[in-house]
Symmetry: C2
Subunit: 154 residues, 2 copies
DNA sequence: CTGGTAGTTGAAGTCAACTTGAAGTCAAAT
DNA sequence: ATTTGACTTCAAGTTGACTTCAACTACCAG
């Protein structure tokens, strides 16, 4: 065990649940930062674990790594995020989740109305209708959130 | 316009909303079948449009093309699916959507309990906790359905 | 018959998010 | 001092679902 509180990539991986390769990859992307030993090995601060928890949470919510990067940049560089930093991100995420949930419910309810009707019509079926799915802002459209959406493939 | 009711790949694409390349790709996978003209061009039956509507619906619900293929195989080869064929698939899909919705709600509610607390701890936070996410059958675990899940990356 | 649009193939490219592999170096315990 | 395990880099591979490309052929209106 090191006498400092710096962590190796292996320890970070074990304690965060990410693979070492993922941790290195994230560092390469600039999502994490690390100091180096004289021999060139990475040493992470303990706060990296929280950062990784944040990343996993964001990924669970459906953010891409690009979006994660943007979110992380909106946070202060080295200090622990304040309550309001965190609250803002949480609010965004909540809206995102609400959208996703609404989309799935619309899909499910459309499905319910289809049961037994064999109606998979291109024009009318809420489950398959590409226009409804693409027209994300249409009134009452049964759209999916991006990432769940499969509309026009062009 | 052809005098028969067979459709070219371009017409199928335009009317289904899929790209031509996707239609050809699906035919290559065996999800669609087509007859050929003497010159080797594809000609699709009108029922292909319904099949594509089915495929889009399944994709919207989150099925992979492999799963779509399996579902299509469970349907009768050429005849229109009966009510019970369709009802069974619908039921499966509904369960799947219910699972997805439940997962997202759990995530959202966990997020709500996190707002303002800055608690993104590896051990306790419902949003980021990999153990909870991985333990899909654990009691009350805030898991995501596969495909939405981002737990251990190993 | 000719021109233009639409079709054909197979191979290769794309994207995100990693993982894997090879060849080599560092750290720490004995 | 040696060994073992952990670490390094960079390139290439993986997966799923397509798209793009090039070179070529078919169809059909006029």
């Amino acid at each position: 065990m090191l006498s400092t509180d710096l962590l190796t990539v292996g320890e970070i991986a074990r304690r965060s649940g990410f693979a070492e390769s993922a941790v290195r990859y994230y560092e390469g992307l600039g999502l994490l930062s690390a100091t180096r030993t004289s021999g060139g090995q990475r040493r992470f601060e303990r706060s990296t674990l929280r950062r990784l928890a944040f990343i996993r949470a964001a990924r669970n919510i459906g953010l891409s790594l690009d979006e994660v990067a943007a979110a992380l940049e909106s946070l202060p560089a080295q200090r622990t995020p304040t309550r309001s930093d965190w609250t803002k991100l949480s609010g965004d995420w909540r809206n995102r989740l609400d959208d996703q949930i609404k989309a799935l419910e619309a899909l499910r309810d459309g499905l319910a109305s289809c049961i037994g009707c064999g109606c998979l019509s291109l024009d009318r079926c809420a489950i398959s209708n590409p226009a409804d799915l693409a027209r994300a802002d249409g009134p009452g459209a049964a759209y999916l959130p991006s990432g769940l959406r499969r509309a026009e493939s062009r």
